[in-house]
């Protein structure tokens, strides 16, 4: 045994060493660049590259929403329906990062899709819906997010509003794939009992409404659609009448902060469990601002309402970022001294040198509350 194992282990070891050495030669030959800088010219989606994707198709969904199909790089690790991906895309030459829910389950063709609704004055959403073209390279992160189904519950209620349908449609499509012969019934979704309460301004403005209606017609979900123009704006407390067996269901909700807050209050009062996904943080009244100083000595004026991330980016400081709403931790940098204020709840985080030690703070939801010094 040992005689057969040892040579192969040694060979693997040698192979590894050889690879290391080849890598070192390649690095020595490309300095001050790195070998990847040259490989990226020819194969930006290869394994080992920074994670990127290429937009392959863009389909309009409504007048102001579109689905984008992306071929992710070889290192894409897959996702669970309901999760989101962060996308870095150049708009007017400027790299912008935003989060978008994945609107399919894992697909047989290995591609991923997102559905974007253009918000008024939205930099990225308008670009994607109205300007982006197939062939464009985008930057990606691996899928993230906790808004996913667990197997321990088969009576579910989804409450979605507007583009909040996106993570839910990803889950539903995964549970009930639709084919030319209609909706497939898979063993994994056999015992499920699903109600979807979907709120939208109007029927034509409702992304994925045809998919929801088809699932309803096939009898795999019960769709309760509420259109503001037809039914008036939904009072969330009416949900008890819309879904009488609410208490026996686990609720998943995704939509604007107002709706989610109301639903949370409702479920809290009723002692019910609620899983939410939020696209945008709600904010409290801003406080006093201050200044923000970076490691290279640059000091910027920062008001109390603008996230430090925005302040820094508008002065061309290179900042890490992600969801831009306080959930992914993609934007944390070390605060050496000073205080910041959480724009979501007004909470102050302060760092006193020699006392608190350096703290890492999220720059996307914190504004300066005094003069801040960052080690970045």
């Amino acid at each position: 045994m040992t005689t057969t194992v040892e040579p192969s282990a040694a060979a693997a070891h040698r192979g590894g060493r050889l690879r290391d050495r080849a890598m070192r030669v390649a690095e020595a030959a490309t300095t001050p660049l790195v070998p990847a800088d040259f490989l990226d010219l020819f194969a930006p989606l290869r394994s080992g590259a920074e994670l990127r994707g290429r937009i392959e198709e863009i389909h309009p969904e409504t007048a102001d929403a579109a689905t984008v199909v992306i071929r992710p790089g070889a290192d894409w690790a897959g996702h669970v329906p309901g999760q989101y991906v962060r996308i870095g895309i150049d708009v007017d030459g400027v790299r912008q990062w935003r989060a978008y829910s994945l609107t399919h389950g894992p697909r047989a063709d290995g591609r991923i899709s997102i559905t974007v609704k253009a918000v008024p004055d939205g930099v990225v959403s308008n670009h994607i819906v109205h300007q982006a073209r197939p062939g464009t390279l985008v930057h990606l992160t691996q899928a993230e997010g906790e808004f996913v189904l667990a197997t321990d519950h088969d009576r579910l209620l989804f409450v979605t509003a507007g583009s909040g349908i996106t993570p839910v449609i990803g889950m539903l499509r995964n549970l009930f794939p639709s084919t030319d012969d209609g909706v497939l019934r898979l063993p994994r979704s056999a015992g499920l009992d699903i109600v979807v309460v979907h709120v939208a301004p109007s029927h034509p403005h409702s992304i994925f409404i045809r998919d929801l209606e088809a699932l309803d017609a096939a009898g795999v979900i019960t769709l309760i659609a509420r259109y503001d123009d037809e039914h008036g704006v939904l009072d969330i407390n009416d949900i008890d009448h819309l879904v009488p067996d609410l208490a026996s269901r686990r609720t998943f909700a995704c939509g604007p902060a107002g709706l989610l807050d109301a639903l949370a209050a409702h479920h809290d009062a009723a002692g019910l469990e609620l899983v939410v996904e939020q696209f945008r943080a709600s904010r409290v009244e801003p406080g006093e601002g201050g200044t923000v100083t970076f490691a290279d000595g640059r000091t910027l004026e920062a008001d109390g309402a603008t996230p430090i991330l925005d302040v820094a980016e508008s002065a061309d400081v290179l900042m890490p970022s992600g969801c831009r709403m306080g959930i992914c931790m993609g934007c944390v940098i070390p605060l050496k001294e000073g205080a910041v204020r959480d724009l979501r709840n007004g909470a102050i985080t302060s760092v006193v040198p020699g006392e608190t030690g350096v703290l890492k703070v999220q720059t996307c939801i914190n504004a300066a509350a005094g003069d801040c010094h960052f080690d970045h």
Binding site: A28, T31, P32, L33, D37, L41, G93, V94, R95
Partner: protein, 422 residues
């Protein structure tokens, strides 16, 4: 009266005597407006420009290095060396210099950002950014403050006292040109001053020197070891080594020439330290306008010079993307004309000649070159020999005679010359 008017350019005439304080402020306002107009429509096509250029440079470098693997074959040597020289020039000039200025930071691309970029040059980007962006661009052409002015080894202005040492400056300048990247590394380190002040034990200096040596080692390993070794199978070790050396020298000579043209030609003003005390934004702009010179020429020349052929525009707006300088140049030139200022621009060859002429002229005592004619050459040489070999007293006396001679010659010659100098 602003400071720049009180104590303007050194030398005898004041190129901005006709400007009022309000004029200078108005110039500042107009230049700010030009800058803003570019910022307002900076966008996708600019980003596409720099990305395309970087990709082109990398293809060219890779292609040239591959061709050089067969450099024992002379046409391959010529082709590969030409390509590699151009690739290194693009890397240093239009790409590296401008990215390190932060011209492309607005794209928020971590790969094309002044805080992360590194270039094919002996001096580490971080140190160059300090000496170039902070010192040179702030103290442009201020004698004694701006190291780029003569790199601390040359006499750059009549006001600086002449010393026999300066006779060698055309030679120093040529050697500096050939080894320019090392010269830059040395003055980014402030090597001369550090040695003079015996501060080479200083930990900060040692750390920086360590970075420079590491950078030089990596660059040399690539050019003079790894690439030649990879060419060994075709028997091309030495030719590839020579190709890399050639490309480095070509890059050095070229970048030195372009940079000399920026601040050295005749007609470019230098300033005294005192002249910049209390300087306003308008004063600063005017100093940049008068302290820089352009090279006129083709699109290819602008590209290869890293658009430092638009040195005036670059010094006014160091953080605007370089691909926009050509477009703002006519507006800047119109402003020069409006305020009756001299926009110093010549084609490459006259501009390089002019810069070298100044180096040679200042290597000699003031007025020596101007007063020398074929007829008086022997006596002039005798004077020069005396000045070079005898003490300061002799130098002072001889200098006084030269100045007098120059004045007499000027008075004797046509009055046009007097009005031209006025």
């Amino acid at each position: 009266m602003t400071t720049i008017q009180k104590k303007p350019a050194t030398g005898e005439r004041n190129p901005i005597a006709h400007l009022t304080e309000a004029d200078i402020e108005a110039i500042g306002v107009e230049l700010d407006a030009i800058r803003q107009s570019v910022l307002d429509d900076r966008g996708a096509s600019d980003a596409a420009y720099i990305r395309r250029l970087i990709a082109t440079q990398r293809h060219l470098e890779l292609g040239s290095r591959v061709v050089l693997l067969f450099s024992a074959f002379p046409p391959a040597w010529v082709l590969g060396t030409t390509g590699l020289s151009i690739a290194k020039i693009l890397d240093n000039m239009e790409i590296g210099h401008n990215i390190l200025h932060g011209q492309w930071d607005w794209m928020r691309d971590p790969k094309i950002h002044s805080s992360t970029w590194e270039w094919d040059n002996a001096t580490p980007a971080a140190q160059w950014k300090h000496s170039h962006n902070e010192v040179h661009h702030t103290y442009t052409n201020v004698v004694g403050k701006d190291n780029d002015l003569g790199y601390g080894i040359m006499r750059v202005d009549e006001e600086q006292r002449w010393h026999p040492f300066h006779l060698g400056q055309p030679l120093w300048n040529f050697i500096n040109a050939c080894l320019f990247e090392y010269g830059i590394a040395a003055y980014d380190l402030d090597l001369g001053a550090t040695i003079k002040k015996k501060q080479h034990q200083d930990p900060a200096f040692r750390a920086q020197a360590g970075q420079v040596l590491r950078k030089i080692r990596k660059q040399a390993t690539k050019d003079y070891l790894v690439h030649p070794l990879l060419s060994l199978p075709t028997g091309s070790f030495l030719p590839t080594l020579a190709a890399n050396a050639t490309a480095n020298v070509v890059r050095n000579l070229w970048s030195h020439s372009i940079i000399m043209c920026g601040h050295f030609p005749e007609g470019v003003e230098t300033f005294e330290k005192r002249s910049i005390e209390g300087e306003t934004k308008g004063d600063w702009y005017v100093r940049q306008m008068l302290g820089s010179a352009n090279i006129s020429g083709s699109k290819f020349l602008h590209l290869m010079s890293g658009n430092l052929s638009h040195q005036i525009e670059h010094h006014l707006f160091p953080d605007l993307p370089s691909n926009r300088y050509a477009e703002v140049a006519p507006k800047v030139q119109a402003l020069f004309e409006k305020y009756d200022l001299a926009y110093c621009a010549r084609p490459l060859v006259p501009q390089v000649y002019s810069a070298w002429h100044k180096v040679v002229r200042l290597s000699l005592p003031n007025d020596w070159l101007a007063t020398t004619t074929p007829k008086n050459l022997p006596s002039q040489l005798k004077t020069l020999y005396a000045m070079a070999t005898k003490g300061p007293k002799v130098r002072r006396a001889a200098q006084a005679r030269l100045t007098q001679l120059a004045r007499r010659q000027a008075a004797a010659s046509a009055p046009t010359e007097v009005s031209a100098a006025a």
